[in-house]
């Protein structure tokens, strides 16, 4: 049996002190409150570490099971493979329920087992596909997997499973788009356009949901938080592509090679991104209008580029400005809204942009070794400057 913590001992002792008339019940409550908070703070890093370890363990087991089944392909009959997969999926969920929700003995391990169940369900879909030589690259399996993960995330209110559902859904969007674009003979340019639109929509919807939806399911699954982070990363990555004139140059030809329904799909995602930008602008968030403006300009520029074409150099210049606004805006927004992750991401984007612009503009004009030395000095200077600024900002936010 585990040793009782100080807070637990204090709880019992304080009841005795009240009974003996040494202190009043109110004083006991104040004393308990003082140490419960500290105990929770001390427990939190350990809890997070346990959660992280459990999630890593679940992922390792999941991939291990897939590897084991794949490696022993021929040795097992179809029936045995199916039995093993089914037992593994059911067993993971049952163990997760037992540890987290029925007994509450090991909630973090239980949550990781729920995640394992979700991973194994995806593995089951793909393994069945391989067993019977169903076309393996069918994106529909990812959609089924994402829906199943979302249902489990909502039922068990698990942030880890919610993040998995979001990642799988994003993978489905990418896979589906990639397959459709490949069929139409289009290269990766349209995929980068989709990344900006989809990422922007995800960030906008997540931010608006956090602000306006006060439901328990949203706060307990942290779905909106994960959506914002993933969305901003994806949007920034897509936007970064168009800061290079070679990529911006392709925008017009990408638009011409898109089929009617692909154009319609792109417009639909753009409409969602713009709608979420409008909702952001109308909300109470302190940086909402600025964020909405950056996303709206990015979406508008991309749509003009795709459907009207034009000079790649001009687009690259404009996208450089938008990317800079996004990076610096993330820092400002993080500061205004007390969100350190936004500050950190913004700082990283500024650094990436500076390095990219150095290589883009100066690399070919300088002798290689001199270029390398200057690049190294530039990176060190950026790291020094940004680290100082970041620490100051975070310290000010803490204060």
């Amino acid at each position: 049996m585990a040793e009782p913590t100080f807070a637990e001992r204090l709880g019992r002792e304080s009841e005795r002190w009240v009974a003996e008339g040494l202190i009043t019940a109110e004083q006991a409550a104040v004393l308990r409150g003082r140490y419960e908070g500290a105990a929770a703070v001390r427990e939190e890093p350990r809890g997070r570490a346990a959660s992280a370890l459990a999630v890593v363990g679940a992922a390792a087991v999941g991939f291990g099971v897939i590897g084991f089944l794949a490696a022993n392909w021929e040795a097992m009959s179809h029936g045995l493979r199916l039995a093993l997969i089914t037992a593994a999926v059911g067993g993971a969920y049952a163990a997760g329920y037992e540890l987290r929700d029925r007994t509450g003995r090991l909630p973090r391990v239980g949550e990781a087992l729920y995640l394992l169940g979700v991973l194994l369900f995806g593995a089951a879909l793909f393994l069945v596909g391989q067993m019977y030589n169903v076309e393996a690259h069918d994106p529909l399996a990812l959609l089924i997997w994402a829906v199943a993960a979302a249902v489990v995330a909502l039922a068990v209110r698990s942030p880890a499973v919610a993040v998995a559902a979001l990642l799988i859904f994003t993978a489905w969007v990418g896979f589906e788009a990639g397959t459709a674009l490949e069929d139409s003979g289009e290269d990766a340019t349209a995929l980068a356009v989709l990344a900006v639109l989809y990422g922007g929509a995800l960030y906008g919807l997540g931010t608006v949901a956090l602000e306006r939806i006060r439901a328990a399911w949203l706060s307990e699954t942290r779905l909106a938080v994960a959506g914002r982070r993933l969305g901003l990363l994806i949007a920034a990555a897509g936007l970064f592509v168009f800061t290079f004139s070679e990529a911006s140059d392709e925008l017009g030809s990408a638009g011409r090679s898109l089929d009617g329904w692909l154009q319609a799909a792109l417009l639909l995602v753009a409409a969602v991104a713009l709608a979420s930008a409008v909702a952001l602008a109308l909300g109470a968030r302190r940086s909402g209008r600025g964020e909405a403006a950056v996303f709206a300009v990015a979406v508008a520029l991309l749509l003009i580029g795709v459907f009207a074409g034009g000079s790649g150099d001009l687009y690259a210049l404009l996208f450089n400005l938008v990317f800079a606004a996004l990076a610096l805006g993330a820092i400002l927004s993080g500061y205004l809204n007390d969100e350190p992750w936004l500050v950190n991401l913004g700082v990283a984007l500024v650094a990436i942009d500076l390095v990219a612009r150095y290589f883009d503009v100066f690399w070919s004009a300088l002798p290689r070794s001199l270029g390398l030395i200057l690049a190294g000095i530039l990176v060190l200077a950026i790291a020094w400057g940004l680290e100082r600024q970041r620490q100051r900002l975070l310290a000010r936010m803490d204060a």
Binding site: A70, A71, W73, E74, H78, L82, I85, T86, V89, G90, Y93, Y97, D101, G117, F121, A124, L125, L127, V128, G129, Q130, M131, Y132, N133, V134, E135, A136, H137, I144, A148, V151, V152, L154, A155, V156, R157, D183, S184, D259
Partner: protein, 167 residues
């Protein structure tokens, strides 16, 4: 956990057990009741036949003459006839004709009389690393046939690969 969420979990988990089993059952039924034909196949990349554990295959019927105007993604069917130990066909029709017809999707637009690429959903074959090596070695010395099961509606499912060494 509330009663409602427990009910959702009680439905979601068994559904996740049933979905793979149902997919497997449908596939097994296709293989058990379908009509078996052998299609002469060729790995798309002869230098690197198995990428990981799967091979991408091309067939004689991967390109056929369209007998009607085709848009990319349209259903196109080919009547198969047996010749030289394998089944083949060359005329693309909108619907399956006869018992041995296979249907797929056009990969591009085509006018009547033009040739068009067709995808049947049997272009990928999975095997363990060991089996993949066996097939790869055998391919060097003989012809490859994909044994495919056909449904009445022309849909196809690849069952296994066979290599004829010509002996």
């Amino acid at each position: 956990m509330t009663h409602r969420r427990r009910v959702v979990l009680l439905v979601a988990v068994p559904a996740q057990l049933v979905v793979p089993l149902a997919l497997a059952g449908l596939a097994a039924a296709d293989l058990a009741f379908g009509r078996e034909v052998r299609l002469r196949a060729q790995p798309v990349d002869p230098l690197d036949v198995f990428r990981g554990n799967f091979v991408v295959l091309r067939y004689e019927i991967s390109s056929v003459q369209a007998l009607f105007g085709v848009d990319r993604g349209d259903r196109i069917c080919v009547e198969l006839t047996e010749r030289g130990g394998g089944w083949s066909g060359d005329r693309g029709l909108p619907d399956p004709v006869g018992e041995g017809a296979i249907c797929g999707r056009a990969r591009s637009d085509a006018e009547p009389g033009e040739r068009v690429g067709v995808e049947y959903g049997i272009e990928t074959y999975f095997a363990s690393a060991e089996r993949a090596r066996e097939i790869e070695n055998a391919i060097g010395s003989g012809e490859v046939f994909a044994v495919v099961d056909l449904d009445d509606d022309g849909s196809a499912r690849i069952e296994r690969l066979e290599v004829d060494d010509g002996g």
